[in-house]
Symmetry: C2
């Protein structure tokens, strides 16, 4: 989802009343960033509080090469990483992930082995449908076992965009209401117990008086974009807007439940996204990055600046805006802080505790780093951003019509070759020029001043940096989701092909 | 000012708390348009409720030629046009214009001859300084007479951007507070009575129990951009942001006064702008058009879509968004409706009464027309916009560095030659694609459906169109502001050169 997809961030159709109200009742962060312009690394950073370059969620298969976890991926979140739900156990928290995991799908990476107590969702993106011969369809798990596969028990109609998944992710009641007109609810066919997802988890923890961490990782705005029938065709923005509306509606349901249970003042809620809106699939399946340059896959602002709202009635003052530079990694540190826990002291943690910003309006000077793969592309400090490398995508891809910056072309900035500016970085003032269209003059005192601060921050970062073992280098068709646990109960086990490790490659 | 300059429209620095609050207490129009991408024609349309092509505020000196009223202009608002303050007199309203008039500066066009009872401001843009030999400095009027000139009694420091004008326009008290550190207040030197502008006008009408119309036409965000000392350097967005902050602050003062006088529920307040943010002066003096394409001077959305907020506590429901397609011309008809008056019936009025949209959420299907000069460049109906002509500016200007769309380049759309698409218009869906980056496929059923409606609306418009006499064709250096009324009292009369009528030309 993109920065510009919410009404409160200026989307002209203004179809996110629940998120907008969440901002009005909470605090908005206009300068909040993902840790990577792509999903898997960003989510790995969220749960570890560490940059992908540290936690291993990158590839060295190419320079500045974005990478995620396709079905063929051999790697996943390393055992040495400490994940947020693992740590929260120390304070008695129950944790659930609803939606996309994306940190590795082989058994050793299973989220219930990494601190989560419950899971409903899938290990990979909802790409498909596949023929179950060359590639298996992606499984959907309930806790330890699969309960079906996308395009089978969990249908996604690529033509109409209909899928019930966001409803399933938020609660069973609405899912069934939504499905009532169209057929049987997903999951029932497989004879599983009824889905009792986000809302039910909250209700159960509340009844048990147990503190909880819900990681609600919906993916309806990720191509192929989907929405359930009650939302399909209701947006002014097309199918992507339908998906946004359904997510917004679900957020409203979650916040309402917290109010109804009278635990709103005891519950810290944060809304953000893992990367900017993908513009290659625009306009039908692409969202909005507002005034920012380019989109997902790039280290321009459109690729990594995210919507971000904190909601904690009675604690975080209502209707505030914080200009603190924030990151999804901060949610790791902040969540630990809320639970009275300290982050691990035996490793570098990139996340900042945002509570001083949220509760008392404090601002902390801190850099934001923009990586593609193992390459530091850019850094922001204060209002200044320096690009050490510029690249959108290759000429070869661009000629095939793959465009990360449609309709945008900043000469010398949105380059289709990897341009090395490390000796003389391009510097932008993000306040005056959020669209990164007007590099500061190299000769200006402002440039020299800005670069001095940025260079120092980058030097400190790089001098202490110990890159983690890259996890996203090796792929193998044999490790795909042929026979996930539970497949035998459903009669859905498939036979893997011969094991042939190879270098991963990604469509872009 | 641009659509994207307000926090409520997504400006990342979010420095317009007063306008944002105005929206939260009122109704926001995300789909509201100026009548022209340039100032004079847009303001003429606002006060007449008629497109510039009807009221004469256009030129035929060139095809699709934007035009405004420089000092040399011979023409002005025609005597036959009925202006809003003239009509409001019929309901006993007192009217004041504070700020830029821009509908002609020769004596017959004086705003006090066109229905206004009071004026404080200037007839032209605050360009300068001039040498008073080749060109006179622009006068500032109090009612019938000039009280000084820009860069003389009303200083604008082009280097620092300091000018006190917005403070003078809003109220004397603050202006003096602002000036106290820097010198004597403007106007005092000239021995005039103290400026008693927007707030004072409201107070006096309230005391006299007289209904009033205040046309608060500030221009601080128009290049050369300015702010008063207390605001200078306070924005995260540079000088342009300082100007926006000061305007926002002034709006807050006006709304506060209405509340303090307990007339908020009897006062209809509307905030909008006359054209999109100018991007040629970006980033230091250029604003934001949010996600929209290009800026001022163009008929892309960035040139004509405007921020628009109505505030009428107790009458217009709070916190609403209306997707009504609106226009500055609607303020003419809506204002008359509020005063219990009907618009003139002897001519075509383009303005719509927005009260049904504001009070009861009604939506009226109506087209929006985008003109440059006498050329219909584009039209919007519902969510669909058709471009009959595309043009940003000429290659000749572009090569000189004049760019209306910096960093944006939509192939075949942001053209530097005037491209005629009247046979096969480019059509965009503004909901899915507010940035006008993805023209619909000519072969698609959606294109054919959209074009059918648009073609009908355009045909109806063109069949009934009687263009007014173009007012912006002829210029003459002899008519410049050499000796405005009142100059003799100030000893500021200058001698005009010989009268030489010629075709007007504009820098772009």
């Amino acid at each position: 989802m993109g920065w510009g997809d919410l009404g409160v961030y200026g989307e002209p159709s203004r179809e996110t009343p629940n998120l907008d109200r969440m901002a009005a009742e909470g605090m908005l962060f206009p300068n909040f960033y993902s840790a990577n312009p792509l999903c898997s690394p960003s989510r790995a950073a969220l749960l570890t509080g560490r940059l992908p370059i540290r936690n291993g969620f990158y590839t060295t298969n190419g320079h500045a090469r974005n990478a995620y976890t396709p079905q063929e991926i051999v790697g996943g979140i390393p055992a040495e990483e400490r994940l947020l739900p693992e740590l929260l156990k120390g304070a008695g928290y129950a944790s659930k992930i609803v939606g996309k995991w994306h940190l590795g799908h082989r058994p050793q990476f299973h989220p219930l082995k990494r601190g989560f107590d419950e899971w409903f969702g899938s290990p990979n993106c909802h790409f498909g449908p596949y023929d179950n011969r060359a590639r298996p369809n992606i499984p959907v798990y309930r806790d330890w076992e699969m309960v079906g596969r996308y395009y089978e028990e969990f249908p996604i109609n690529l033509k109409t965009g209909e899928a019930n998944l966001t409803q399933v992710y938020v609660q069973v009641t609405d899912a069934w209401a939504g499905r009532a007109r169209g057929g049987r609810p997903p999951g029932r066919q497989a004879g599983q117990c009824l889905p009792q997802e986000a809302l039910d988890f909250v209700r159960r923890q509340h009844a048990a008086r147990r503190p909880f961490f819900l990681y609600w990782a919906v993916d309806a705005t990720h191509a192929p974009v989907y929405a359930s029938r009650p939302f399909l065709g209701t947006s002014r923005r097309g199918r992507y807007g339908d998906a946004v509306r359904e997510i917004d509606d679900s957020v409203g349901k979650i916040l309402s439940l917290l109010r109804d249970l009278r635990i709103a003042e005891d519950t810290f809620v944060f809304f953000t996204s893992d990367n900017g809106a993908a513009l290659i699939s625009a306009p039908k399946q692409g969202g909005s990055n507002g005034p920012f340059l380019c989109g997902k896959q790039t280290t321009f602002e459109g690729g990594m600046r995210e919507p971000a709202i904190v909601w904690w009635p009675g604690r975080v003052p209502a209707g505030q805006v914080s200009h603190q530079l924030g990151s999804v990694m901060d949610l790791f540190t902040t969540s630990l802080s809320l639970a009275g826990l300290a982050p691990p002291s035996d490793r570098v943690i990139d996340g900042l505790d945002l509570l001083p910003a949220m509760l008392w309006g404090q601002l902390t000077d801190r850099p934001v780093f923009y990586y593609r793969g193992n390459t530091l592309m850019a850094a922001t400090l204060g209002q200044y951003k320096a690009h050490f490398w510029t690249w959108t995508n290759s000429w070869e891809e661009f000629r095939q019509g793959i465009d990360f910056c449609p309709g945008q072309n900043v000469s010398g900035v949105t380059t289709h070759t990897q341009e090395d500016h490390t000796e003389l970085p391009l510097v932008f003032h993000l306040g005056r020029d959020p669209g990164e269209r007007f590099p500061l003059s190299f000769a200006s005192p402002e440039y020299l001043h800005a670069l001095r601060g940025l260079t120092l921050a980058v030097r400190q970062h790089q001098e202490t940096l110990v890159p983690g073992q890259p996890q996203l280098n090796v792929c193998n068709r044999a490790v795909m989701n042929w026979a996930p646990p539970g497949c035998e109960k459903l009669g859905k086990c498939l036979t893997p092909p011969e094991s042939v490790p190879e270098k991963c490659s990604w469509p872009h």
